[in-house]
Each structure stands twice: as C-alpha cells, then as structure tokens.
Symmetry: C2
Subunit: 263 residues, 2 copies
C-alpha cells in the first residue's frame, strides 16, 4: 500500500459538491471512477481536505488515496489528468508517508471569493464570480476595515450555517482582505486561516456586502463574535464566487478527527 | 417604425452560432424571442454585423432591429438584458437612423483569440480560451514578426474556409499582434480590420501556431498571399478562444451588400 497526495483543480458548476451523497454527480465520484480505471478496475477511495458545496470551485483542493503498488508520480499525474473530465485538472501527484491525511493534517486553508460588481453582467464569468445584484456603490474601504476584526483566534459559531455538527468552532484567521480590480470590475476577497466552518466564507462575504452597503455596522464581525449573536450576520453569498485556493500541511496540525468543514 | 442599434455580449458555448439555421439553438433565435415578448408578442427580426460560429463568443456584437414605436432606450436595454438568458448581456441600446444597418455599414471589426499555453489545463477557462495541445515552446517573437505581413490590403482567399460564397476576398488589416501574459499563461491574438472572411481569424491563429512551432516558414502569410496558395496555411483553431470584441461604424462603409463574414 502506497499513499499519494494530489492537488486537484475543478470547476464546481456541474457538480453537487465535492463529497458523494446518494446518486448526485460529485467530484469525489468522478475522481474515484477515474482512479479505479487507473488501478486495474479495483476501487480507490478518495479523501479530501474538506468538502466544497455545489457550484464552489477549487484551484488547490488536496486529496489522498492509496494504491497497491508504487507508481511513477508524474506519469500517474498525467494519466489521472488526461482521463479526468475537462472540468477537473490534476495539478500534481506525489508519494507521501502512510501517515499523511489530507483532512486531519491540514494546517491552513486559503479561500478566494470573486464578486462581479460591473454593469451589465459579463456573460463569460457568470459561473466564476458572483454577480452583485444591488444598486448603489459598495464602500470597499469600510469592508476592509471591518475585515480586520476577523484576524485572530475567535469562536466563529455565529458564522456557521445551521446543520453542522462540528463542536469546536474556534478558528484562527491569519489574513482577511479585499482587493478591488477596476479593470475587471471585481472585488476579490481573500481569507486565510486554520480552517473555516460550514458555509463560513460565504456568510462572511454576505455579511461584508451588508457592511459595504451601510446596512450593518462597521464592527458587525466584532459584535457577532463578542455577543455570539447571529443578529449581525448577512445572508450566505452565492457559491459560484468561491474558490478553495490552497491547503497547507506545515507546522502543528489542527486537532485530529475534527469534523471537516465545508464551504 | 423606429430603428434601434444594440451592443450584445454572449457566451457562445451552448449555441450553434449566431445565425438561426433550422432547429438549432442560436443567439439570434433567443434575441428574437426576447424582443417579441418586449414587443407585445409581435415578431422582431434581428440583423447582426455578421455571424459567429458555434462556440465563438462576442463582447461587442452589434445588432439592429425595428420597433413599431419609440421606446426609452435605457429602460428598453434594461428589460432586454434582464429578460435575456444569463449567457447573453445587452450592453447598450440606442435609437439610430432608419438607414443604419449593422452589417452593410460596418467599417471595422476587432477579434481577440485567447490561447491557453499553461500546464496543466485551468478548468475554469476551458470554454473561454483554446488549450494549446502540443508540447514544446511556441516562439512568440517569430509569430509576432509573421503577423506583420498581414497588415495592409490583401486578397485573403487562401485564408477563407471552403463553403463560402463571398466573391470579394480583399480585406484590409489595420492591426495584427500577439501579447503573452506570463501570469495567466495565455497568448492573446488581436486582429483589427475592415472585415474577415469565413473562419479567417481561426485559420490565421492555426497558421500562427504552426509558425510558432517552426513548422511553417516565418513568411508563411506573405507566401500564401503572394502565391494565393493554401500550402502555407495551418488548421482552423478551435472556436472557444475567439471573441468578436468590437464593430465600428465610422468613415466610409465597406461595399454595400457584401456577404457577411462568419468567424
């Protein structure tokens, strides 16, 4: 038994998310089908760093899987990439220790969120950025100031969608900022931290839109955290703007066997 | 009868091209359906600056159509845009003289072609840039030098796909250049001229790939034009990289009633 780690990019548009559930078409199902073919018809189980929801994209999703014997990593990557559908790319494959685990040993995740604030819609990016549907300008500087309250270690329970069974909702955010691209008329939100709760990034972005519209106070994040209250929380932003960009495995891992988050 | 000009952007991925042919789903069909709804159920015929082929995109396609009475142009644009599917955007609508004609009066067209030369594929752009499928580097400077032979007024018959009934194949190219974007790992080809023959831009790009691979001489364009020979012509590049960016209507129009080109 030899363990492999792979970095996968996918366009989430036509998938019911990463993780297999019932009969739905999922990224996991497609990856496992492809690996089965490359493994002489024998099933291969794929573990990922975390789930992504329907419509959410990944540039740097990390998976691991076991094969019965050693393979040339680059040849295997090429075959895995070529045999995958066009909306999935296998960016890298490397052999890792048997103890490697894509979920339990992840120490840091980076998400990007693309918000299209141009008028009218650019049809080419309707699946790759969320369209900001409101009139009136967003106060980008106000959003940036609000995001500074996210930095640090906090109990993010108010930002966790209902239906999650995660018990420990304390996460550390290292980076939270927004960049405006005048040329593409987009806002790019960048979040980097030890992990994110169920739908947390999209709830953060939905809240930021309200802050940018002056419909929530500039210290909404601080108030929500301090009071552990959902009163300062905006709606969940659409999935098509969200990208899992990078998962890192350095330093001390987060608590083992913590339930994976999903965004 | 009041004539309107509109600038339309569309994602060509799911369409069998612009122009209605038989039962296929076309951009024209969808635009006419929407305009019919906005015209109290009475049919509206759409004329475009030219056809685009299946999978080809437009940022600046120009159409004209007639309505029985005057409408507020911006309100009409908003309704036309909102009632159109998500892969079509109505960028502008303006009232024009009854003599305006989107095809016959066009004086200049600009096409862009996006070629993805990165490895591995970026799944998010598979419908929006053509993937360069060969190994080995493209000599971008050689392609740029070759493109200089396209500038000017030439008989482009060798670059016209068979099946076209256009008789006058003389066109003037004002601009032909290639830009390399190291960050996105893409080449962007820019072509601006009085008009382009059937599939001409895609044949130019296919030929440029061969020139960049050193499989055709650097003066392939000059040789093809001088000898009126298809011997120096590469394959037709894929449609998904091609964008009709802009159509202009200033200066002296090209010869009236010339058959429209299609790319």
């Amino acid at each position: 038994m030899v363990r492999y780690k792979a970095v996968i990019a996918y366009d989430g548009t036509r998938y019911s998310g990463f993780q297999t559930q019932g009969e739905s078409l999922t990224v996991q199902l497609v990856l496992e089908d492809t690996l089965k073919k490359l493994n002489g018809g024998k099933p291969v189980y794929v573990h990922a760093s975390g789930r992504t929801d329907a419509g959410v994209h990944a540039w740097g999703q990390v998976i691991h899987f076991d094969l019965p014997q050693e393979r040339d990593a680059e040849k295997f990557r090429h075959a895995f990439d070529t045999q995958s559908p066009e909306d999935i790319a296998v960016r890298s494959v490397e052999q890792v220790a048997d103890t490697f685990h894509s979920r339990y040993l992840a120490t840091e995740k980076t998400y990007h969120y693309r918000l299209d604030i141009g008028r009218p819609r650019v049809p080419f990016k309707r699946h790759y950025a969320a369209f900001y549907p409101y009139t009136g300008d967003l106060d980008v500087e106000r959003m940036q100031r609000a995001m500074e309250d996210l930095i640090g270690t906090h109990d993010f329970t108010p930002f966790c969608a209902t239906g999650s069974s995660v018990e420990d909702r304390v996460r550390t955010i290292f980076e939270a900022r927004v960049e405006e691209n005048k040329e593409t008329q987009e806002l790019l939100f960048i979040f980097r931290g030890t992990g994110f709760l169920y739908k947390m990034v999209r709830i953060l972005v939905g809240t930021l839109m309200k802050i940018g519209q002056n419909k929530l106070p500039e210290d909404a994040f601080k108030l929500a955290i301090d009071q552990q209250s959902k009163d300062y929380i905006g709606p969940t932003a659409h999935p098509e703007g969200l990208y899992l960009m990078e998962v890192r495995y350095d330093g001390k891992p987060k608590k083992a066997y913590q339930e994976e988050s999903s965004n």
